[in-house]
């Protein structure tokens, strides 16, 4: 039987990356900033360190762009920005997600009301 952790991992897979894209949709953010945000989200239960490989992959597939910038305090920061491809992917996900969520809600009985 799949334990809770396994379920969480399964649910996170395929959706977390779009949460990352959405986080930099309107504003460039640096790695630590993004990672902290996810670390604060209990529901995602993701170790901060696991976000960096994800950022790396999103950059390699061209959904994110990154550039190093000097920090007013401390070491240089690597800022991430959404690319046009990333924006398209995010929009597509939003459409699919609404449809997917409604279907699951209906089948599982979590539709509310």
């Amino acid at each position: 039987m799949a334990d809770v952790a396994q379920l969480s991992t399964s649910l996170r897979r395929g959706t977390l990356e779009f949460c990352v894209l959405a986080m930099v949709e309107h504003e460039d953010r640096y790695g630590t900033e993004i990672v902290r945000r996810f670390g604060d989200e209990r529901g995602l239960a993701a170790s901060e360190g696991t976000i960096y490989p994800l950022l790396s992959r999103l950059r390699r597939i061209g959904w994110l762009d990154s550039k190093w910038s000097e920090s007013p305090s401390g070491p240089p920061r690597r800022y991430y920005a959404l690319t046009d491809d990333g924006r398209s992917a995010l929009e597509h996900f939003r459409t699919e997600w609404v449809s997917f969520r409604q279907t699951v809600d209906r089948l599982v009985g979590t539709g509310g009301a």
């Binding site: 790695g31 630590t32 696991t50 950022l55 401390g74 070491p75 920061r77």
Partner: protein, 256 residues
């Protein structure tokens, strides 16, 4: 003091992580290690981390090297090498304890020197030793893990066995050194088999040359004899009309 201690802890964390990332492409590995190092530095600066205890909290939030490495392999679409941490790794950790971040290079370099060269990163010096450690590779009975530096050469002998019917497939690694022996055999056979042909061709050419020389010599003799006659005739004629100005007159006519 505590700062040094914290640096040690961070170095140890990154070192263990790097050891677990041996199966990743070098650029991805470097990128991830750089990101995590920057993250830790940021956290220490922005959260005012001064004690080891506080630092451990930061590292705990980051996740254990095992967890981070697992995520890295998953994102890279690569299988996680289960044997990664075995044997040599541990030894390197203690040996390079004082090397901090760059210490990782030595082990990694030994494993994949090719990648190391490609990286040409900020730690080229530690990579020098790898060649020295390569001899250790010969005993690859260790494991078939990731990729050992020697695999390129060793892997090569797997394929060559088929084509060309080269004998090195039987002897494995040692045969490689025996590569040279191969070269000799062919040359010996070829020369011996072609010797007769060459000798025959040489003889034919020599014979042809002799015949040619003979013909030429004959021709010269014939010409020589015909030339000799005129002089005698001339000498005979000249004395007779020597007094009259016959010889001088002939040359003068054309000039006028």
């Amino acid at each position: 003091m505590s700062s040094d201690r914290c640096d040690e802890v961070v170095a140890e964390y990154l070192r263990e992580l790097e050891q677990r990332l041996g199966g990743l492409p070098v650029l991805q590995r470097r990128e991830l290690l750089g990101d995590l190092e920057a993250h830790i530095v940021n956290e220490r600066a922005e959260r005012g981390v001064t004690s080891e205890t506080e630092l451990l909290v930061v590292l705990e939030r980051l996740g254990s090297p095992e967890v981070v490495a697992a995520a890295a392999y998953e994102e890279a679409g690569l299988p996680k090498p289960a044997v990664e941490l075995a044997g040599a790794r541990r030894g390197t950790v203690t040996a390079a304890a004082s090397a901090r971040f760059t210490g990782r290079a030595e082990r990694t370099a030994a494993l994949d020197s090719a990648e190391v060269f490609a990286s040409a990163g900020p730690t080229p010096q530690p990579y020098a030793p790898p060649p020295v450690s390569t001899p250790v590779v010969p005993p690859p009975d260790d494991l078939f893990r990731a990729r050992r530096g020697p695999f390129p050469p060793g892997g090569g002998h797997l394929f060559p066995s088929g084509p060309g019917g080269r004998p090195w497939s039987d002897a494995g690694p040692p045969p490689f050194v025996g590569g040279p022996p191969f070269a000799p055999p062919p040359p010996r056979r070829e020369p011996s088999s072609r010797a007769w042909v060459r000798a025959a061709v040489g003889a034919a050419i020599g014979f042809a040359v002799l015949v040619l020389f003979g013909c030429l010599a004959g021709a010269f003799l014939v010409q020589g004899s015909s030339v000799e006659e005129p002089p005698t005739a001339v000498s005979v004629e000249v004395p007779e009309p020597a007094d009259p100005p016959v010889p001088p007159v002939r040359p003068v006519r054309p000039t006028e």
